[in-house]
C-alpha cells in the first residue's frame, strides 16, 4: 500500500524533475525575451517570447470572459432559482458533465464553425474555444463556494430588506478568496490546453498584435518544436515546458494559499 502511494506521488516528482533537468540548461534571458528567428521549426536563433505572450493573452482573455459569464450563472443557480427545482438540479449536473468534455471536441466544433464562417485560425478563435472550456470550471467552483455560505448570512442580509442582487453582492464579498481560486483554476486550465488551440489558434513566429491573427502559445510551442531534429529548436521546446511548469506551479501554490485563507474566513 505504501508502495502504491509512493509510486503515485513519485511520478509527480519524476515529471517535474525531468522537465527541470531538460529545460534548465536552455533557460536564458534571450530565450524568454525574443521571438524565434528563421521559423519556429527550423530556425536556430531566438526564443519563446512570442509563445509566452500569446499564452498569457489567450489565457487572460478567456479567463476574464469565463469569469464574467460564469459568476452570474453560479449566482443565478444559487440565489434566484428555487433550490431543489428541476432546472437547478439538471443545470448543475450538466455543468458537471460539460466539465468532463475534452477540449478536442470543443476545438473540433469551433473549427468547423470557423470554417463555415470563413474565419481563419486566430487568437479570437482560441479565446472563444477556451472560454467555452473554462466556463464550467468557474461555475462549478463558485457553486461549491456558495454552498458553503451559511444560510443565516443570506437570511440576515435579506432581513435588512436587501434585494436578491444586493444579497448576492454581500455573498461575493464573503467568498472573495474562493473566487480568486476559481479564476486561477480557470487560468491554469486555459494556459495548459493544447487540443483546443491546436485547431483554432494556429501558430506564429511573431508577437501577437491583432486578435484576428494566429498566435503562438506555450503548449503548441512545446508540441511542435519537440519533434524537430534540430537540437536548438528542441531546446526551445524544453524551455517552453519549463516556463509552463513554473506558471502552473505558481498557480497551484497561490490556490493553496487562498484556500487556507477561505477556511480561516469561515469563523
Amino acid at each position: 500500500m505504501q508502495i502504491s502511494g509512493i509510486s503515485i506521488t513519485g511520478s509527480l516528482f519524476l515529471i517535474i524533475g525531468i522537465i527541470m533537468y531538460k529545460g534548465l540548461p536552455y533557460i536564458s534571458w534571450e530565450m524568454i525575451s525574443q521571438s524565434p528567428k528563421g521559423g519556429f521549426y527550423i530556425g536556430k536563433g531566438g526564443g519563446i517570447f512570442n509563445a509566452i505572450l500569446g499564452s498569457l493573452y489567450l489565457a487572460g482573455l478567456s479567463t476574464v470572459l469565463a469569469t464574467l459569464i460564469g459568476i452570474p450563472i453560479a449566482l443565478y443557480l444559487n440565489m434566484y432559482i428555487k433550490q431543489g427545482s428541476f432546472l437547478e438540479k439538471s443545470s448543475k449536473l450538466l455543468f458537471d458533465v460539460l466539465f468532463g468534455i475534452p477540449s478536442i471536441v470543443y476545438g473540433a466544433i469551433a473549427f468547423s464553425i470557423m470554417v463555415w464562417l470563413g474565419i481563419r485560425a486566430s487568437l479570437l478563435g482560441g479565446v472563444i474555444t477556451i472560454t467555452l472550456l473554462t466556463i464550467p470550471i468557474v461555475v462549478r467552483t463558485i457553486d461549491e463556494l456558495l454552498l458553503t455560505v451559511p444560510v443565516d448570512l443570506k437570511n440576515v442580509t435579506k432581513s435588512l430588506g436587501a434585494t436578491t442582487w444586493e444579497t448576492a453582492k454581500v455573498l461575493i464579498k464573503y467568498i472573495k478568496p474562493g473566487i480568486f481560486t476559481a479564476i486561477l483554476l480557470a487560468f491554469g486550465r486555459a494556459i495548459g490546453d493544447v487540443a483546443g488551440v491546436l485547431l483554432t489558434t494556429g501558430f506564429s513566429d511573431n508577437l501577437p498584435k491583432y486578435i484576428d491573427e494566429p498566435a503562438a502559445t506555450l503548449p503548441l510551442a512545446i508540441f511542435f518544436q519537440l519533434s524537430s531534429p534540430i537540437p536548438e529548436v528542441q531546446g526551445r521546446a524544453y524551455a517552453s515546458a519549463l516556463v509552463l511548469t513554473l506558471i502552473i506551479l505558481i498557480i497551484v501554490i497561490c490556490t493553496h494559499i487562498l484556500a487556507s485563507k477561505q477556511k480561516k474566513h469561515k469563523i
Binding site: M1, Q2, S4, G5, S7, I8, T9, S11, L12, L14, I15, I18, I69, P72, I73, Y76, Y80, S91, L93, D96, V97, L98, F99, G100, I101, P102, S103, I104, V105, Y106, G107, A108, I109, F111, S112, I135, T163, T164, W165, E166, A168, G192, D193, V194, A195, L198, L199, P219, I222, F223, L226, A237, Y238, A241, L244, T245, L249, I251, T255, H256
Partner: protein
C-alpha cells in the same frame, strides 16, 4: 427606490439568459457535429464504419476500427495500472496514514491534476518511451522504438491518478465510522475490515471514479498522441503503435477539407467521442450525487 428592484430584475434575467446561452452550447455541439458528420453516414452505414479495419481517406475508405481499438487499448492499459494503485493508495491515505501525511499528499494530487497534458506528453517522450524501448522491450527480446499503446497507457495512467485518488478519498470519507467500529468489534482485523466492509460499501463510488477516469482517458488527445506512434492499424500487442480517436482529429484537421468526406469522418469521430464521454460522465455524476445526498 423602485430602481433597486429594477436592478434586481435586470440581474436576474441577465444571469438567466447567460445560463440558457451557455447550456445551449451543448445542443449546438450535438446538432453541429451531427450535421457535419451526416454526409458520411449517408454514404456508408454506421455498423460498417465502426467495424471496418481499412482507413484510407483518399480511396474513400473510412474504417474506424483501428482508432476505436487504439482508444480501447490505451484506456484499458491505463486502467489496469491505475485502478489497483489508486484503490490501495486512497485506502492507505484514509485508513492508515497520519493526518500530517494525508494533508501533505492531497495537495500534491492537485499539482498532478494541474499539469497540462502537453507536459505529460513531454515526460512520455523523454522518459516512458525510452524506458520501454531500452528496458522493457529487451526483456521480451523485442526491438522497437517505444512509441506504443503501452507508452500511451502509462502516460494516461499517471494522468488519471489525481481524479481517481481525489474522488476515492472523498468516497471513503463518506463511509460511517460506526460501520468500521462494528466490524472491528466483531474481531475482524483491520485489513479484513477494509476488504470485506469498507471497499464493498465504497463500491459504487469507486466505480463512479473509474468511469469518470475512463471518460477522461477517452478524450485525452495530445499527451497520448505524442507517445502512441499513430499508425492506423488495429494494435495486436502492448508494443504495437496505436492511433486513438482524439489523436486522429488533432492530426488531420488541417487536410480534411481537401479530401471528400474526410471532414465528415473527423466530425463523426468528434461526435462519437462526445456521445461516449457525455454518457459516461452523466452516469458517474449521478452516482456521485446520490452518494453525496446519502452521506
Amino acid at each position: 427606490m423602485k430602481f433597486r428592484l429594477v436592478k434586481d430584475l435586470i440581474a436576474k434575467y441577465l444571469s438567466k439568459s447567460l445560463l440558457i446561452l451557455s447550456l445551449s452550447v451543448v445542443v449546438l455541439i450535438v446538432i453541429g457535429l451531427a450535421m457535419k458528420s451526416s454526409p458520411l453516414l449517408d454514404n456508408v452505414n454506421l455498423f460498417h464504419i465502426l467495424t471496418e479495419k481499412n482507413w484510407s481517406p483518399q480511396k474513400g475508405n473510412f474504417g474506424f476500427l483501428p482508432f476505436i481499438m487504439g482508444t480501447l487499448w490505451v484506456t484499458l492499459i491505463s486502467l489496469v495500472i491505475a485502478v489497483p494503485l489508486c484503490i490501495l493508495a486512497s485506502t492507505y491515505l484514509v485508513e492508515y496514514a497520519s493526518d500530517r501525511l494525508r494533508i501533505s499528499v492531497l495537495p500534491l494530487m492537485n499539482v498532478l491534476a494541474a499539469i497540462p497534458p502537453v507536459l505529460y506528453g513531454v515526460w512520455g517522450v523523454l522518459f516512458v518511451v525510452p524506458l520501454i524501448s531500452d528496458w522493457i522491450a529487451p526483456i521480451f527480446n523485442i526491438n522497437i522504438t517505444g512509441y506504443s499503446v503501452l507508452a500511451g497507457g502509462i502516460v494516461l495512467a499517471v494522468m488519471i491518478f489525481p481524479i481517481m485518488i481525489s474522488i476515492m478519498v472523498e468516497v471513503l470519507h463518506t463511509i460511517p465510522k460506526e460501520l468500521k467500529a462494528a466490524s472491528l468489534s466483531l474481531g475482524a482485523t483491520k485489513w479484513e475490515t477494509i476488504q470485506k466492509v469498507i471497499l464493498r460499501k465504497a463500491r459504487p463510488g469507486i466505480i463512479a471514479a473509474v468511469v469518470l477516469a475512463v471518460s477522461r482517458a477517452f478524450g485525452e488527445t495530445v499527451a497520448v498522441l505524442m507517445v502512441c506512434g499513430n499508425i492506423p492499424k488495429v494494435p495486436q500487442s502492448l508494443f504495437d503503435a496505436g492511433y486513438p480517436i482524439p489523436a486522429l482529429i488533432a492530426n488531420n484537421f488541417g487536410e480534411m477539407m481537401s479530401i471528400p468526406l474526410y471532414d465528415a469522418a473527423l466530425m463523426f469521430a468528434a461526435l462519437l467521442l462526445f456521445v461516449i464521454i457525455f454518457g459516461f460522465n452523466l452516469i458517474s455524476r449521478i452516482i456521485l450525487n446520490r452518494l453525496e445526498e446519502h452521506a
